[in-house]
């Protein structure tokens, strides 16, 4: 009996990854993306920039289109084009926010809409659209070793850079005035952080598509907030949620024959809804059934 269950579990959970190379690569890619997106998403939430990821995801379009027009369906060309377009958008939006009194969200909204329109225009004049659409929606099951290397590289670089920049980045989040007054380069730190966001989103595009990548960036972070408070514990939990979403999403996609991107993001969304209802910090459960217990002092 035990053996039967063991075999069944193995065939359901392990063997899809053990037997198929593309599933193995997809899993490694998702875990790598999830790990880096945990802390990055958490910081975005704390900075009230949860929609910046969305804006950046839309801003890749003209870059991808230019890459496609000049080099055809070349993944490196389109990735590099996407990265340049999104990084440029983030840079310009940041400069405008720093120099004028335009708020950050308004600034991002303005520039991503310009980028999006430009992208649509370029695509509509570029002939075949099917392949480009494929790029926009991604395919986690078509990750080759090269794109895996790029995803893992982006994830590693981001985690290292985060470690190095952690202190000024935290200070820039909660007391930018102090950082400025002691001579810290707050604007530069913020710019580097946004560059990290761009890098991770673009690397995740190949696996999940432009729009789905944002799901793995934000949902684990917004879910983690219902379980813990400190930045580090929240980031770690979010990273765990991200990796778990990748794992479960791939299994579901494999067994039910669903597209992988939406499966992964829906699992992340499920984790978010579960956290929202049953988390240990201001979840619905605690709001609807408050405990009268309290301490003496």
């Amino acid at each position: 009996m035990m053996l039967e269950w063991g075999t069944l579990l193995y065939s359901w959970i392990i063997s899809p990854f053990a037997d198929y190379g593309f599933m193995k690569r997809a899993l490694i890619a998702c875990v790598a993306i999830g790990l880096a997106c945990g802390p990055i998403g958490t910081i975005l939430v704390l900075r009230r920039m949860s929609l910046a990821g969305d804006a950046i995801a839309h801003a890749v379009l003209p870059g991808a289109a230019v890459g496609f027009i000049f080099f055809g369906l070349s993944l490196p060309a389109m990735t590099i084009g996407s990265f340049i377009a999104a990084a440029l958008m983030a840079l310009v939006a940041n400069v405008v926010t720093r120099w004028t009194s335009q708020k950050e969200d308004a600034s991002y909204a303005s520039f991503y809409l310009i980028a999006l329109a430009l992208g649509v225009l370029l695509i509509s004049t570029s002939g075949s659209k099917v392949d480009l659409l494929h790029f926009l929606f991604g395919s986690v099951l078509a990750i080759d070793s090269e794109s895996l290397l790029m995803i893992a590289g982006a994830s590693t670089a981001s985690l290292l850079l985060l470690t190095v920049l952690w202190r000024p980045l935290m200070l820039e989040c909660f007391d930018p005035g102090f950082l400025r007054s002691v001579g810290g380069r707050g604007a530069l730190v913020h710019q580097l952080f946004m560059l990290m966001v761009v890098l991770n989103l673009v690397s995740a595009f190949q696996a999940l598509g432009t729009l789905m990548a944002v799901g793995l960036l934000m949902l684990p972070a917004t879910a983690a907030r219902f379980w813990s408070y400190g930045v580090v514990s929240r980031s770690s939990l979010a990273a765990g949620f991200g990796a778990l979403s990748g794992f479960l999403g791939l299994l579901i996609s494999y067994h039910a024959n669903f597209p992988s991107g939406p499966s992964i993001v829906l699992v992340a969304g499920g984790l978010y809804l579960f956290s929202l209802c049953f988390g240990t910090r201001d979840s619905f459960r605690l709001i609807l059934f408050p405990t009268p217990q309290h301490k003496e002092s």
Binding site: L165, P168, C173, F174, D175, G177, V231
Partner: protein, 267 residues
């Protein structure tokens, strides 16, 4: 008068020459000339909209003037010098209180001169942070998050960070606002202690009684200098009435100001 003589004999910490600070072409501080002596304790007083906070943020280097100049003592002339020797406490709204950061970490960051962006927080810095926390009356608060503190406790934390900064010039923007008497008294004690240590302290204040009693120097500001000098001589009924009369009114059709540079201030 003996004290005054000592003051005048001292060197200048910050000198303002014909300084004008503006928002969209409208002056908030208008043709301000004068000096803060090194080691002086000065209150900046004036009605709302008088340009007090604007002046303070200009002194801290966060806002630049459109005319005139701010000159610092030699040690503070470079931006790096100012960053390590000048401390600025803006009004509280600048801090995100919802951000999950612990009290000890906030205070330790006061040692930025030693820490910078990358060096690790030593046991010595941690010990000093606990000491300054005790000095502002917050014993056992190290592990608390800033979101859990009351307004008064947070202000104590920020004063502890100022103590860690160990700066020569300290700028305080309405530091005792919205504090209960006990907290205000404790923190005033910290300010007076800085004065005894010959640091230059400049504070924007509204409580004239406190200024009269504890602050030797006063700058009465209503966009322009109304009076600047010994508090007792500055805070006269006549001067205060003159400060009140200065309107906060912006006139979009006002003509461009064409005062020749040196005829600027009345101070």
């Amino acid at each position: 008068m003996a004290e005054l003589d000592v003051m005048t004999a001292r060197s200048t910490a910050i000198e303002l020459r014909n300084l004008t600070l503006a928002y969209q072409g409208h002056p908030a501080v208008h043709h301000l000339t004068g000096a803060f002596k090194s080691g002086s304790l000065t209150a900046i007083v004036g009605p709302n909209g008088a340009g007090k906070s604007t002046l303070l943020s200009a002194l801290s280097g966060q806002k630049s003037g459109i005319e005139g100049s701010i000159d610092f003592a030699p040690a503070l002339q470079s931006p790096q010098g100012r960053a390590s020797k000048l401390a600025y406490l803006p009004q509280q709204s600048a801090i995100d209180r919802e951000f999950p950061v612990r009290v000890l970490d906030v205070v330790s960051l006061g040692a930025w001169r030693e820490l910078g962006s990358f060096r690790s927080v030593s046991a010595d810095i941690r010990a000093r942070a606990s000491e300054v926390l005790a000095a502002v009356g917050l014993i056992g608060f190290e592990r608390r998050y800033i979101g859990e503190l009351s307004v008064g406790q947070l202000q104590r934390v920020l004063f502890a960070r100022l103590l860690m900064q160990d700066a020569q010039i300290i700028l305080l923007d309405e530091p005792f606002n919205a504090l209960d008497t006990r907290t205000a008294e404790d923190l005033l004690g910290v300010v007076l202690n800085w004065h005894r240590q010959s640091r230059t302290v400049i504070a924007v204040l509204h409580d004239l009684e406190m200024v009269r009693q504890y602050f030797p120097q006063t700058l009465l500001l209503a966009r322009e200098v109304i009076a600047w000098g010994n508090s007792a001589e500055v805070l006269t009924t006549e001067n205060l009435a003159r400060a009140r009369q200065t309107s906060e009114y912006w006139d979009d059709r006002a003509p461009w100001c064409v005062r020749p540079p040196e005829s600027g201030s009345r101070g």
